[in-house]
Symmetry: D2
C-alpha cells in the first residue's frame, strides 16, 4: 500500500525532518510539498542532505494552488500556527485526513487558544472533533481520527514523564515542576538575532519564564491524564545543541509505598517508543538523536520523585510522532518507517 501524501510548508526543521522520514517510509508516495515563498525551488537545493534520493531529487516546492492536496489521503501541516485550520474543512470534505504539527488542533479551550496564539479559531466545530496525537494516551482515538493535533515537543516529554505517576494517583497535582532544556532547533529555522551561533553557543539561558505556549497545552494533557486540576511550574531553557529535549520533572509523593521503577516499567512495557531505563541509569539526549524513541529514568528521593526524560524534539517531539500518528490512522504497523537507530556519537 502507498499512501498519497501532501506536505504543506516544508522549509522549516520540522519540514525537512518529515521529508527525511517520509522519503524512507515504505508505504508513502510523496505527492507534493508546498511553500508559497519558495515555489519553484528544488527541495534538494534547500536541503542538500537530501540530494541523491530518487523521490526527492526532482521534487520542487509548489504553490498551494498547484498542490492538489485533496487528491491526497493525508496532508501534514508543518506551517506556522493558523494555516491548517484555514484549510481543514476543504480537505475533510474531500476525505483527506489532516495531521497538524502546529498548534491549531491542540488546545480544546478556545479562549486559551486565542490568548496564546493571538488569533480566533477558524473552525471550532472541527477542533472539537480533533484528537490530540499522543499515542501513549490516545491510541484508539487516533486510529479513528480525521484530524490529529500533533503535540508540541515540550508537552510530549513532560506528559510522558508524569503519566504513570498521575494515572496511579500517587503525587500531589498542585506542585508539579518541569525544568526543561531544549536544543536550538526547537525554536525553528528562522533568522533571529538571538539564535545566531555566537549568541547561543558556549552559553545557557532560561526563557519564557513568564509564560510559554506549551504551558497550557501541557497542563491540559496532565489534567486529562490525572482526571483533576493540576498546577505545573514550567521553566524552559535553551541548550547549545541542535536537537534534544531533556525534561527534569519534580513531584511530591503522596504515597510513599509505591515502587516507582516498577510502575514506570509496567506502564510502558508495551510502548514501542518509550524506553524505561534500568534503575540507576540516567538518560542523555544523544541516545535518541534522529530517532522516535523516548527514554525515561525515575529516581526516588525523600518524599518525592524526580523523573528524567529525553526525546529528539524534531522526531518524537514533532515529525516522528506525526508519522507514528499517520501509521495509526491508516492501520499500518505503528513503528513503520520509524525503526532507524539513533545516531551517536
Amino acid at each position: 500500500m502507498k499512501l498519497n501524501i501532501g506536505l504543506v510548508g516544508g522549509t522549516g526543521y520540522t519540514g525537512v525532518e518529515l521529508l527525511r522520514l517520509l522519503a524512507q517510509h515504505p508505504n508513502v508516495a510523496l505527492r507534493c510539498i508546498t511553500s508559497r515563498k519558495d515555489a519553484g525551488t528544488s527541495v534538494v537545493d534547500f536541503f542538500p542532505n537530501l540530494r541523491g534520493h530518487p523521490a526527492l531529487d526532482k521534487m520542487v516546492f509548489c504553490t498551494p494552488d498547484e498542490a492538489r492536496l485533496t487528491e491526497c489521503e493525508v496532508v501534514f501541516f508543518a506551517t506556522p500556527h493558523g494555516v491548517a485550520m484555514s484549510q481543514a474543512e476543504t480537505l475533510l470534505a474531500a476525505d483527506t485526513k489532516i495531521i497538524d504539527l502546529a498548534a491549531d488542533f491542540r488546545l480544546q479551550d478556545l479562549a486559551e487558544f486565542e490568548r496564546w496564539y493571538k488569533m480566533p479559531h477558524a473552525c471550532p466545530h472541527l477542533l472539537k472533533e480533533a484528537v490530540y496525537g499522543l499515542p501513549e494516551v490516545n491510541r484508539d482515538a487516533i486510529r479513528q481520527a480525521r484530524i490529529v493535533g500533533n503535540p508540541g515537543c515540550y508537552p510530549t516529554a513532560v506528559q510522558l514523564g508524569f503519566l504513570p505517576l498521575l494515572e496511579a494517583g500517587i503525587v500531589a497535582t498542585d506542585t508539579l515542576i518541569a525544568d526543561c532544556k531544549s536544543g536550538v532547533s526547537g525554536a525553528g529555522r528562522v533568522a533571529e538575532l538571538s539564535k545566531i551561533f555566537p549568541e547561543v553557543t558556549d552559553n545557557f539561558i532560561a526563557y519564557g519564564v513568564a509564560g510559554h505556549r506549551h504551558h497550557p497545552e501541557t497542563e491540559q494533557g496532565l489534567r486529562h491524564i490525572a482526571g483533576q486540576p493540576v498546577q505545573l511550574t514550567f521553566t524552559p531553557h535553551l541548550v547549545p545543541m541542535i536537537r534534544g529535549i531533556f525534561a527534569t520533572l519534580y513531584a511530591t509523593l503522596t504515597d510513599d509505598s509505591v515502587d516507582v521503577q516498577a510502575l514506570f516499567e509496567q506502564r510502558y512495557a508495551n510502548e514501542p517508543f518509550v524506553d524505561v531505563l534500568p534503575a540507576g541509569r540516567l538518560p542523555e539526549t544523544r541516545s535518541v538523536r534522529a530517532s522516535n524513541m523516548v527514554r525515561i529514568a525515575v529516581v526516588r528521593r525523600p518524599r518525592g520523585v524526580t523523573v528524567l526524560v529525553v526525546e529528539d524534539n524534531l522526531v518524537k517531539g514533532a515529525a516522528g510522532q506525526a508519522v507514528q500518528n499517520m501509521n495509526l490512522m491508516f492501520g499500518l504497523p505503528e513503528t513503520t518507517g520509524l525503526t532507524a537507530l539513533p545516531v551517536s556519537p
Copy 2:
C-alpha cells in the same frame, strides 16, 4: 604592597585561572607554583595563553620541596582534596595563610567530610578554625581568617540564590529545589572518556542524581543562613559549554506579601559581585564569562518563587572568589584584580 604568593597544584583549570588572575593583580608577587608531576616544565608550555606575560614567561613548575611556601604570606591550594589539610599546620606555624580551593576546609561535620571524600580529616582542630569563604555571608570572619575553605562552584550559586529568601524567612525550608546546569570545565582538567568532546557536545545529561559532594556543602550553608534545618533537592546537569553555572531554584513562599524583587535588590545593594537584574530580565551564563560577577533574577509565580543565578564556575565559583577572599584577608580593596569586564561574545 606586594604579597608573596605560593600556588600548590597549578595544572588544572582552577590553577590556570588563578595564574591568569594573580599575574594581573597589582598587589601580588607570584613566588612559586608547584606540581610534583610536572616539576621542571615551563608554565607557559602548559598554558600557551599565558605566553608573553613577564611574570609567567620564565616561571617553572617546581617540586613541593623546592617551593619554600613558608616564605609566602599566603598559599593557594588548587589541588585534589586532601593536600591542603596535610600542609596546613606547617604553613600556619610560619604565619602563612591558606586558601584552599578543594574541599578540606568546607564541611564542618567530620563524618560528612569522611563519607563524601573517603579520607579521615588530617587536622580537625584547624577545620574548626577555618572560615567558609563566601564573602556575602562571612565577610568579617574572612577578614580575620588564617584558613579559608573556598566554596564549591554549585554551592556558591545556590546559596547566593536562596540567601535573601532564607534570611527573610519567607520560604518553606523543606522543599527547596536546585536544578543546576554546569559547563564542562567544572569537572576539571582530567582525561576521562566521559569528558571527551564527542561524548559531551550536542548532548545534555544529568549526573550525580543519587548524591553529589556539593549537596552537603550547600545544605550546610543554607542551614547556617536559615538558622534551621533545610531539605534541598539538588540535580546537577552537564551543559556542552566551557564555563558557567546556571542555577534554577524553586521555593515555596510561606509569605505571599513580600516584594521579592525589592528584597533581592536591597540585600545585594552593596555587594560588588552580585548583580540583581531588573524585573523581567533573565540572566545568561556568558554575561559573566571570565568575571567574578554573579547575576540573579527572581520571578514570582503562584505561591512560589523561581530564582535564576549565573556565575562563572572558574571565577566566582573558584579562582576569583579565592582572590576576593585574599583581598579581604589582607585588607586590600575587595575588588582589586577582579574588575575585568566579562568577555562576550
Copy 3:
C-alpha cells in the same frame, strides 16, 4: 541471504557505527562482537543509543576465544593497528574473509608500514594479496578479495578529490596540497586530555604537521591513480564538531583547456556514493552526516583548481565504506544497508 558476521573490537566509534549499520542491514546476522577488556558487558550498556533493537538488546561482548570467528563468513576488525594481521591466517584458512578498518592491510611498502606503525608486519605474504578498499578505484579487485584493507578517513576524501584530475593527467603531481579538517570522532573514543571538551570546543588547531600516518597511505593511493610519483603537502586540522571531514585540495593545472566541472561529473556519474555538486555550490559536512555519501565541488582559479570534499569520517571514512566493501565481496547490491538519508540539522 544472511551473512554470518563477526566484529572484533566494538567499543570505539568505528565499532558502534558498524553496529548501527550492520544491525539495520537486511543481509546480516551479527554473530559475535569481541572485546577482551569488556567481555561480559552488554553492548547496549555501552551504547545506550542502540537500546531497543532486537539484534542488539541481548548481545554481550565476548572474549576472542568465545567468539568462534571462523564460523563467520566475514570478520570486521575495528581494533587498534596490529590485531587483524595476527589473526588473518587462521581466518582465511577457515574461508572467513577479512575487512580491516585499521591500517594492517593498507600500506604495501613494508618499511613504510613499520616506520609509521612501529611494529613489524605479521604476514607480508597476505599483505600482498590484500586489496585496498576504495571501491571507486578498486571495485573489481574488491569483489574478488579475501582481505580488504579499509582506507583511512583522510585518504578516502583526498583520493576521491584528486582522482579525476590525476586520471586525466591535467595537474602537476609535485605540488599537490591537501588542507584537511576533521571532526573529533576521527581521533577515536579514547580518554586523552587533549580531547576533553574544554580543550577542543571553541578552538581550532592544526596537528601532525611534521608527519601523519595518513600521509604515506594517501600518497600511495595518489601514485597508484596517477601512475607516477606524486608529492603531497598534507595539513590536518581539528574542528570542534563530532563527525565530518572537509578536505580543501589545491592543484596546479598543466592543461587549462579542460572543463573540470564536466570532468568530475562524468567520472562520478555512476558512483552511488559520490555526489558532484552543481557548479557554484559548495559542500558542507553536515550534508553527509551519518551517511556514506561523499560530496565534491570543483572550482577553477587562475592556472589552478580547488577541490572541496566532504564525507562522514565514521561512515564513508570507516564503517560505511567497510559495509560497502562487504556488499561487493559477497555479490550484494553495493548500496545495501547504506541508503539512509543524512541527518540534518
Copy 4:
C-alpha cells in the same frame, strides 16, 4: 591624560568589543556612542556583560546629531561600510581623528573599492591620505595619521604570516595560498538564517571561494610588502566557534638556505603583539582568545614552507588593533589597555 572618544555604531560585535576595551583603558573618556536605530536604549541593556562598570552603566545610545563627535579627539567607526567616509571631512575639519573599522579607508584602488563595496568613494582625496593601520608594517605612518583604515581580520593574519618571507624575498610570489578558518563572530551580529546555531554548529563549510572582499585588501598589503605583484589563492572557511582566525599559509621557497624559524623570530623580536612559537609548537586559536596577541608557527617542508597564524578576529583582527592604532596616534605606549591575558579555557 584622558582622550575624549566617540564611537559611531556600537551594536555589533566589533562595537561591544571596543566598548569592553575602551572602558578599561586608563587614558580614555568615552563621551558618546551612537546608534540611529537604538538611540535611547541603555548600552548595558544591549550587552548585559557590561553591567556594573561605572563608565558604561549609565551610557545610552544616542543619535548621530546628539553625539557632538567633533568635540572628541578621536572617533571610532564600527559601522557598515560607507559611514566613515561620509563624515570624515567634517571630523577632520574639527581636528578629530578617525579610526575606521569598516573598509572605507583600506583599499587605495578606487575601482577595486567600488567593485567590492558597490558604492562610489565619498572622499578620494582623504583616502589618499589615510594610513593602513597594520602597525607591524606602518607604525611610523600611523603615528602621524589623521585617518586610519583598520585592517580586516583575515588580511591581518595573512599579511603577518607572509610578511617575513616576502620581505626576505625567499618565496615565489605567484603561488601563495591562504587557507583560512574563521569563527562565526567574524560574520557580524546580524540575523541571517545561515548563521543560526543549528545551521552552523557541528558543521564545517567553505564560503566566498569565488571571491571575498578581503582578497584584494590582502593582495594590496602583500604587494606593498613584497614590492612586486603577488598572486594569492584565498579560501575562507567557517568554524563552529565564536572567535578566532586560523590561517594556514603555503608558499614555495625560492631560496632553500634560509633558516625560516630564525627569520621569523628576528623579524618579530620587538613586536609586542606577535609571538613566534618555538620550533615544533603549533598554535591554537584559544591561546589568543580575548587578546590582541597573534601567534605564529613556521614549518619547513620539501621546497616549501607552511605558516600557521592565530589571532582573535575581534581583537587583533578588529577592536584591539584599533586601540593599538589609537595608542600610536596619540603617543601613548603601544600596549596600553591591551595587556589582559587571553582567557582559556
